[in-house]
């Protein structure tokens, strides 16, 4: 069976403590917003200058000068604020963001994260990825367990350029929830109907269980 993208997002939402500040990366992490319970005092930070980011606007309310870090039109919730990028990255780099939920190309068993460039591939850029990975208090990665070509993304050592070293604490894939521990990857839970062997087969590193 495995987790669908929405199920990964829903599972990730359970990682968010009530009363915390969360930054959601571009792509899969963006979906998490829809799964955060209301009234939980969870505040979404967007590095382009929003604290208290709300859902996409209703048709006709969209404002090209109110966007998220993915450059999509968004809204601001009551109690939200806007600010300049220096303030925004003070929040991120100063350790004020409790949790960053990021995508990944590779995660190594020591917590190294690679999510910005493929050697020889088209470089999209760094954006806020390195700041978030180095600055947020906790890093949660959401990713498909393997690449489209079936290559492992959870590896002994990253072969792609790093975003930050030894930062990832937990990974949620379509197959499993896995922690990075001092001893390496450790299984936290399997997606429904998924076997441990299947999870291990898609990894290029040991998995403790």
């Amino acid at each position: 069976m495995a987790f669908s993208k929405q199920q990964i997002a829903a599972r990730a939402a359970r990682e968010i403590a009530p009363g915390s500040i969360v930054n959601l990366g571009i792509g899969l992490p963006t979906l998490v917003a829809d799964h955060i319970p209301e009234g939980n005092d969870v505040w979404l930070q967007s590095e382009n200058g929003i604290l208290g980011m709300g859902p996409f606007p209703y048709e006709g309310d969209e404002d090209p000068r109110l966007i998220n870090a993915g450059k999509q039109t968004v809204t601001i919730v009551p109690g939200g604020s806007t600010f300049d990028s220096a303030t925004s990255f003070s929040m991120i780099r100063g350790g004020h963001v409790d949790l960053a939920i990021l995508g990944a190309m590779q995660v190594a068993q020591n917590g190294d994260l690679a999510n910005w460039a493929i050697p020889g591939g088209k470089t999209l850029g760094i954006g806020g990825a390195m700041d978030l990975a180095a600055g947020a208090r906790r890093i949660l990665v959401l990713t498909s367990h393997v690449t489209k070509d079936g290559e492992a993304k959870l590896v002994k050592e990253c072969s792609f350029p790093l975003t930050a070293a030894r930062v990832v604490q937990r990974i949620i894939t379509d197959l499993a929830v896995i922690d990075v521990t001092p001893e390496g990857f450790r299984l936290v839970e399997l997606a429904p109907g998924v076997e441990l062997d299947q999870v291990r087969a898609g990894m290029d590193a040991e998995l403790l269980s």
Partner: protein
């Protein structure tokens, strides 16, 4: 299957019903930042509350340490401060006496360096270079380094356990608006402290502020208490006569 981390974060239920509750955990030996330029922008009730809590051996990080027997002067009188990091002593006779008899340790630093060190702590910058203080006592013992032919010294981030902040208005998430020059060091302090406590003239509902006009976003604030009455003493009241019956400033 272990449970995901769901312990409660620090951004829930920030509003406290009393000053004492807002100061919970501020104990002996704490490093405490207190906002205000002189008496302007002091968190008056929180300053009194610390005194009433009976804590001691505090490190006080504040631009000044009271004046005219008001503000932080009460902390010095009560001997609850072991060390002061400030920029200006002025006519604070208590502090002068305690400096002279070495009953208190005072570190006086340039005001720009003072606020930049706090801002650095809040922004994840452990150290930075500045030309301010080069060639003076401030530079003694510090690393010197030239950039583009200008000599600089290395200064380190300055953080604290608590920041006590006076706001004009605050909402339940801790978004703050200040009034005029009462803002001063408070935003930088709020970012540099582990626990930032805001004393506000008025608690307003969530959504009361235009998002573009929040002076200090709630991410930097952890506790909020409404205190409607403030003395706001004049330190040096200067006025000029009105040219005639009408007219205004």
């Amino acid at each position: 299957m272990s449970e995901p981390a769901v312990q409660e974060g620090r951004h829930r239920r920030k509003v406290r019903e009393s000053v004492a509750a807002a100061l919970e955990g501020l104990g002996d030996g704490a490093r405490v930042m207190v906002g205000g330029f002189g008496l302007c922008g002091n968190a008056e009730a929180l300053i009194r509350g610390v005194l009433e809590a009976g804590v001691k051996d505090l490190t006080l990080i504040s631009n000044n340490s009271g004046n005219l027997e008001k503000g932080l002067a009460a902390w010095l009188k009560a001997d609850i401060v072991r060390r002061v990091i400030c920029t200006y002593v002025g006519n604070n006779e208590d502090l002068h006496r305690k400096m002279a008899d070495h009953s208190i340790e005072v570190e006086i630093i340039p005001q720009g360096t003072f606020v930049e060190r706090m801002r650095a702590a809040g922004a994840g910058i452990p150290a930075f270079y500045t030309p301010t203080g080069v060639g003076t006592v401030v530079a003694e013992g510090k690393e010197h380094r030239d950039f583009d032919g200008v000599t600089n010294i290395l200064e380190h981030a300055l953080s604290a356990d608590f920041a006590l902040i006076r706001a004009h208005q605050v909402d339940p998430f801790g978004n703050v608006r200040f009034w005029r020059t009462a803002r001063n060091f408070s935003p930088a302090m709020a970012t540099a402290a582990h626990t930032t406590v805001v004393e506000a003239d008025e608690l307003v509902p969530l959504g009361a502020f235009d998002p573009d006009d929040v002076h200090l976003p709630g991410i930097f604030v952890h506790r909020v208490v409404e205190v409607r009455e403030h003395e706001d003493p004049f330190e040096y009241r200067r006025v000029r006569p009105r040219p005639d019956a009408e007219g205004g400033a």
